[in-house]
């Protein structure tokens, strides 16, 4: 979180926790007094996207760019023109939540020309308990495919090992170790370790900053 870049892009495999991480990151950035816009670039999956919690985020003062009105609930690749405004506004901060896998990352290629070198961080979020990123070869394979599809280089990994409500400290430590191994092989840093807030205080890890998460995308039977 130190010295954040003008644009932070969150990519990863399907269901790796990109949206929760991006939203928590955006809210945290906003708390430091910066002007932050969260951009919903997920044009792959019509469920559990930023747009489904748009109102709640706006109440908290976060700017949100996502397809508006009738297009919000459609499975069409609609990209609002306001995205370019966020990328061009060098005084503001943009947090981009991208769709899953290489298919989801393809949309980034369209903005390659608007992303100046050194002005952005491309994060690759990894949950080692997801089917295709359980081990180092799996993580490398998906990351390479995302880089190819987006025509951009990943700047850092974000470790997000969890089993949803069944996560415990052991789960986190075991998964995080695999992410560290992958990062070492890639020669990339691990920027953050995402952990549910209720476990964050009990975790003893020094090699990576712990990033406490408040879950924002809830199921209809989950209480606030």
């Amino acid at each position: 979180m130190e010295d954040p870049k003008h644009i932070s892009i969150f990519t990863g495999a399907f269901g790796s926790g990109k949206t929760e991480l991006a939203l928590n990151y955006a809210l945290k950035l906003q708390e430091t007094g910066k002007k932050v816009t969260a951009v919903d670039l997920d044009i792959i999956n019509p469920y559990f996207r930023i747009r489904s919690v748009r109102e709640a985020l706006e109440v908290r003062g976060l700017n949100v760019v996502s397809p508006c009105g009738r297009l919000a609930g459609a499975d069409v690749p609609a990209l609002p023109p306001a995205i370019l405004g966020v990328l061009d506004d060098s005084r503001g901060y943009g947090v981009l939540d991208v769709g899953g896998d290489d298919i989801g990352a393809t949309v980034l290629g369209r903005f390659k020309g608007n992303l100046r070198d050194g002005s952005f961080n491309l994060y690759f979020v990894v949950n080692t308990y997801r089917t295709h990123t359980r081990d180092v070869p799996g993580i490398l394979s998906i990351m390479r495919r995302i880089e190819k599809a987006s025509r951009l280089q990943v700047s850092a990994l974000i470790s997000n090992p969890n089993l949803g409500p069944e996560t415990n400290l052991e789960t986190i430590l075991g998964g995080h170790r695999i992410v560290m191994d992958a990062a070492q092989q890639l020669g990339l840093p691990v920027a953050l370790l995402g952990v549910h807030r209720k476990l964050a205080g009990r975790l003893k890890i020094r090699d990576v900053p712990i990033f406490p998460l408040d879950l924002l995308l809830k199921l209809p039977w989950q209480d606030d």
Binding site: F14, N45, Y47, A74, Y129, R130, E166, L219, P220, W221
Partner: protein
């Protein structure tokens, strides 16, 4: 895992090696998953040119004795109905997944339970039934996919696994059971060449002589009677002293469980019945476990479909009400609770 992935993995581990389908939201990740996974185990994934083609490819593969699956959402399932009737008529095992969305017509891609009638009351033409399973967690989606293949083989009947966009897209931890747990039974009836059985096998649903057709109908009826007797599956929650009984399946049942807990905190003796098989509808469980019930409230994401089966099962012993949201809207716990309070305090439950 996501629900869609759990179906894919469940199918692969149940020995399914053939998938024919056509993408449609909200089940596209399932096709995506199997496109990657099936070739790893020597299976075949084929994206057909339409849902009509998919279901007829399923017919062909099932007739040749394969474990085979297709999946779609409402509009695509409608296109498959002729094929489903043919498969049921020819008595072939296969699994069909329906991740329901808002309708009628093209509707939208939001979660819904509006295909209950279509799945449980026929859908296609002629006298037939699908076995219909309604999971309500990702673990159950995985387990039930395996069970669906077993039921299909056991009864030589198409089995539908039915859920909605929330179930398809949500993520929950899943324990993947041992591989090769399912043994694929022999299929002496399959049209798979004459090497392993004497004489010709014919897969057919066309009987031009009415007497012969009726004979088939009688045989099917006997099979359906046996399924109704042996395969009803249901889960009860806090029913023992329940005076107001909610009935809900799939996504709605997860919300209703939270409602029952909230109602209990308010001193209202509420309980929940969750049908797991939608056909056969667990009528015996509903009738046999609700001795204290003074009224029933079905909660569905449709305008009132399962409520008819609940009324038949309750058989006039208590009033049956319906609360529904439609068009892709998901019922909210506090609104259902309000409905429960209205019934309880309004004198329906005395």
């Amino acid at each position: 895992m996501k629900g869609n992935e759990a179906i894919g993995e469940g199918a692969v581990r149940a020995g399914c090696r053939y998938f024919f389908g056509y993408p449609i939201t909200p089940q596209s990740e399932l096709t995506h998953y199997l496109a990657r996974r099936l070739p790893e185990v020597g299976g075949l994934y084929l994206q057909a040119e339409s849902e009509v083609a998919s279901i007829n490819m399923v017919y062909g593969a099932a007739g040749a004795g394969a474990r085979v699956m297709t999946s779609s959402s409402g509009p695509g399932i409608s296109l498959m109905q002729e094929g489903l009737s043919v498969i049921a008529g020819a008595e072939l095992p296969c699994v069909i997944v329906n991740m329901m969305r808002g309708g009628p017509g093209l509707g939208n891609i939001a979660p819904s339970q509006a295909d209950y009638f279509q799945a449980t009351k026929g859908g296609g033409h002629g006298d037939y039934h699908l076995i219909v399973l309604a999971p309500n967690s990702v673990q159950e989606i995985f387990d039930m996919t395996g069970k669906a293949f077993d039921l299909a083989d056991c009864y030589r009947n198409p089995v539908m696994v039915m859920a909605d966009g929330i179930m398809a897209q949500m993520m929950e931890p899943v324990e993947l059971k041992d591989e090769d747990r399912f043994e694929i039974p022999p299929r002496p009836w399959a049209a798979s060449g004459m090497l392993d059985h004497p004489g010709k096998n014919l897969i057919n649903s066309c009987y031009v002589v009415p007497e012969e057709m009726e004979e088939v109908n009688i045989k099917l009826k006997e099979k359906y009677t046996k399924i109704i007797r042996e395969e009803q599956e249901c889960e009860g929650y806090l029913l023992e002293d329940a005076e107001i009984v909610l009935v809900a399946f799939g996504t709605a049942s997860r919300i209703c469980r939270a409602v029952v807990e909230k109602a209990r905190l308010l001193g209202i003796p509420a309980g929940l019945i969750r049908p797991i098989t939608l056909w056969p509808f667990p009528a015996d469980f509903v009738a046999g476990n609700t001795g204290n019930a003074k009224c029933f409230l079905t909660v569905e994401m449709n305008m009132g479909q399962m409520v008819e089966d609940v009324k038949l099962a309750v058989n006039g012993k208590a009033p049956v009400f319906h609360y529904g949201r439609m068009g892709g809207m998901v019922p909210v716990a506090k609104d259902i609770l309000q409905e429960v309070q209205k019934l309880y305090n309004g004198g329906v439950v005395k």
